[in-house]
Amino acid sequence: MLSVVTRALCLVGGGALLGLLVNGTRPNGVRFASFAPPSVCTMTPAGGEHGPGPAPVESLEPRDAAGLCGDPSTLIADVRPATEFAQGHVTGAIHLPCTASGQAASAAVDLVAGRQTLIVYGAGTDDARRVADELRQRVHRRDLRIVVVSGGFGAWNQAGLACSSGPCVHCAAAPAAGGR
């Protein structure tokens, strides 16, 4: 006489075998070797059910965004590829490209805790906005200001602003004044 648990295990095992068989024979079955977990920009956006709707993502000109640089309540995220990030980035920026894992996005969400402003920049405006929109969906704080830098790092750098790349002496000298 089979016990309830044994029967349950038989059903689950049989179902699992059937699933593997069906998946292996289907042309659109999930491929174990090539499946990649979602990245920052491919995670499923969902409605904000934990509270009121999120505040919109703002766009700021580089000069205005740089005014927030060096403020300890500001976090800066660079969404460009790793090679470009390595060549130069806004001082103190975290690297959060679109291709970063979902875990990286969650880590960024944790870093945002206690901050008032998140500045996101990319090679241009659109790549930064994709990441900013995703983070807006994941961080349920209406008091968090999320800012995309118009024109991206190039525009910031061309403007010759403080913190554009490497050490930021201005930020260290006058953090309360926004690092300028």
């Binding site: 179902g15 059937l18 979602p38 956006p45 969902a46 059910e49 894992s101 979902g102 969906q137």
Partner: protein, 143 residues
């Protein structure tokens, strides 16, 4: 009581069959939904391949098999729903804003309602497991 148990197991069985079939439509999208929970990032593809079929098998067993196997199916469904409830609760309390993936890609975002629904289904399985059993030897005579 028997009618209630019949309706309950048919409803649970049908729900599992529908949920499994909907997930079977696009297993890669379902794997993404699983990975979004950030609980088993490396096992998402494997789970996406086996879970829908397990749900269908358990659902069919709840509806069509003998009482002994139905109880096994109820136990398996209970284990499934406890696991699902744990995953949903984990995402809800970590405030991860993702779709539930409960019915493939059309499950809607995780909310307190999702959690309540899973708890209700878990309770349904417990009721089946507790009451859908062979009558005691003397029950028929005394009844």
């Amino acid at each position: 009581m028997n009618a209630v148990l019949f309706l309950l197991r048919v409803a649970l069985g049908a729900l599992l069959i529908v949920a499994g079939l909907l997930k079977l439509r696009d297993p890669t999208a379902f794997a993404t939904e699983i990975a979004n929970y950030q609980l088993l990032p490396t096992g998402a593809a494997m789970l996406a391949a086996v879970l829908p079929a397990i749900e269908v098998v358990i659902g069919l067993s709840l509806i069509a098999l003998s009482r002994a196997w139905r109880r096994g199916a109820a136990a398996a469904a209970l284990a499934l729903f406890v696991t699902f409830t744990g995953a949903v609760a984990s995402a809800y309390f970590r405030r991860i804003n993702i779709d539930c993936g409960c019915f493939g890609t059309g499950g809607g975002p995780i909310s307190a309602l999702t959690l309540a629904r899973n708890l209700t289904l878990t309770a349904g399985c417990l009721i089946l497991l507790r009451f859908d059993r062979a009558p005691a030897p003397g029950a028929r005579l005394s009844g």
